[in-house]
Symmetry: C2
Subunit: 103 residues, 2 copies
Amino acid sequence: MDLDEPAPRDVPVTAILAALADENRLAVVRELADGSERACGTFVPEWSKATRSHHLRVLREAGITRTRVAGTNRLVSLRRADLDAAYPGLLDAVLTGAARVSS
Amino acid sequence: MDLDEPAPRDVPVTAILAALADENRLAVVRELADGSERACGTFVPEWSKATRSHHLRVLREAGITRTRVAGTNRLVSLRRADLDAAYPGLLDAVLTGAARVSS
DNA sequence: CGTACTGTTCGAAGAAACTCGAACATCTCG
DNA sequence: CGAGATGTTCGAGTTTCTTCGAACAGTACG
C-alpha cells in the first residue's frame, strides 16, 4: 500500500502553497506537468537520495503527486484532475508563472 | 516614500507562494480581497506590533500588497490588478480555496 | 541465496522563519 | 513643545525547514 496520499480537498490551501513555494519542488511539478510518470531518481540529480525522498514526500502529502510502486522503482505523477477539482486554476496559474519566469 | 514594493512580475512565483503559504497572512489577504484599505493595526489582533509589521512586510515585498501613509496610519491594500496581470488566476484560485476551507 | 538497485527512515547539523519586547521614528493635536 | 498614537527596526529566543550520511527494506536477477 502506497496510496497514502490525502485528497487535495482535505489539504489546507496553505499546505499546498507551502509545498509549491520551493524552486526545486516546483521544478519537479513542472516536469510532471505533461502527465508523465517518472521515477524518483530522475528528479533534481544534485539532491541526495534522502533529500529527494523528503521533498517528494512533501509533494505527496500535500496531495499534489501520486506515487506508484513499479518493481524497484516508485513512479511519481501529478494529480492534476484532483488538484483542479479542489483548487480550480491554481496549478495552471503557478505553472504559467513558473514557465514565464524561467524563460 | 513608501512605494518600495516590487512589481509582482519581478517577484518569483515561489516568493509569492511562500508569502501566501501562511494561515495568518492569507487571512490578511482575504480581508483585503474586497478592495478595501485597512490600517496595519486592524489585522490579526493577537499579533504583537512587531510580528504584524513583519508579516505585512513579507506581503509587501512579495508584491502582493501596497502600503500608503495616511497621517499616523499605514493603509494596506491588495494589488489585485498587478497580481492578475503577472499571475492570472492565481489569487482567485487561492482565495476560492481559502474561502472553501474556512466555511 | 547473494548481489545490485531504488527508495525510505532515522538522527543530527545548519539555515531560515516566526515571535516578541524594547527602543526608535513620525505624525497629530492641544 | 509635549503627550499620545501608529508602525518600524533591532536583537534574541524558539521553532520549523533543509540537507546529508548511514542504516534499513523491498524488488530483481543470476
